[in-house]
Symmetry: C2
Subunit: 126 residues, 2 copies
DNA sequence: ACTATATGAAACCATTTGGTTGTACGTTAG
DNA sequence: CTAACGTACAACCAAATGGTTTCATATAGT
């Protein structure tokens, strides 16, 4: 009766393994990578285009993109000699949904507390 | 005209520095720590209580809790010789809000695309 | 007072991360 | 065809991470 998977028909958020979640959050735990995501979300870009603004080697940015790709936050699509990097907002939504679950847990706790306080039949609360 | 900070009066999500965000996501990028958060959210616990179920040293769990504390996801409150660890759902909501921003960006991109397609006055789209 | 408990903290270690440079290779342009 | 470009990848390095064990300290219980 707990509305666990109540309106969950459309959201495949639970099929993320611990490892996948690890990779998603780890990928998000770096300012450069978050910046890349922001830029990618607003417009597709090649690896070089992405690398250009940063004060680090091209290879370094390449690695950052690889981390994002490993987390499924981004995909690469060959186009001639360049690779178009495209954002995958679905993964972001899954991460967001995951955090939403925590709030659910928190609210569940509050509810339980409320229920406890509303008890009119308190059995030995030693 | 871009609804940037439109309904943002109540949410202090922008005051998180890059470093803070780094720490939050990094803290979330570990299954044990996520598990600790879940448990903490549903009920306060002491460090020992938290450490008990895991197949690792007490000190290791202590460190995990320290990471969570450093990210502001958890606070410790002395009570005699033990420390009560308490969850801080506010930080989780901020992280969630941050991810929400990404979706905003994504939607902004779609809007821009729509606008482009709806253009009835297309000037040299080379 | 003494002992056990709860926590903190240091020193150490293997692995991962985030960066570098250099090399190789397919693709585009002249 | 050859040169320049875009990308991939390997080797290397310093620093951070996640774990360990050990020692120290404060509080609780008897």
């Amino acid at each position: 009766m707990v509305s666990y998977s109540a309106r969950a028909s459309h959201d495949p958020r639970f099929d993320l393994s611990d490892d996948e979640v690890d990779r998603i959050f780890r990928a998000l735990a770096d300012a450069t990578r978050r910046d890349i995501i922001r830029r990618i979300l607003s417009e597709d870009a090649t690896v070089s285009q992405l690398a250009e603004p940063y004060d680090m080697s091209f290879a370094a940015v390449q690695k950052h993109i690889a981390v994002l790709e490993g987390a499924g936050l981004v995909t690469k699509h060959p186009s001639g000699r360049e690779r178009i990097v495209r954002g995958n907002p679905e993964m972001l939504r899954r991460a967001q949904a995951l955090l939403g679950r925590y709030e659910q847990i928190w609210r569940g706790r509050i509810d339980r507390l409320d229920a406890l306080l509303a008890e009119d039949e308190p059995r030995e609360s030693h």
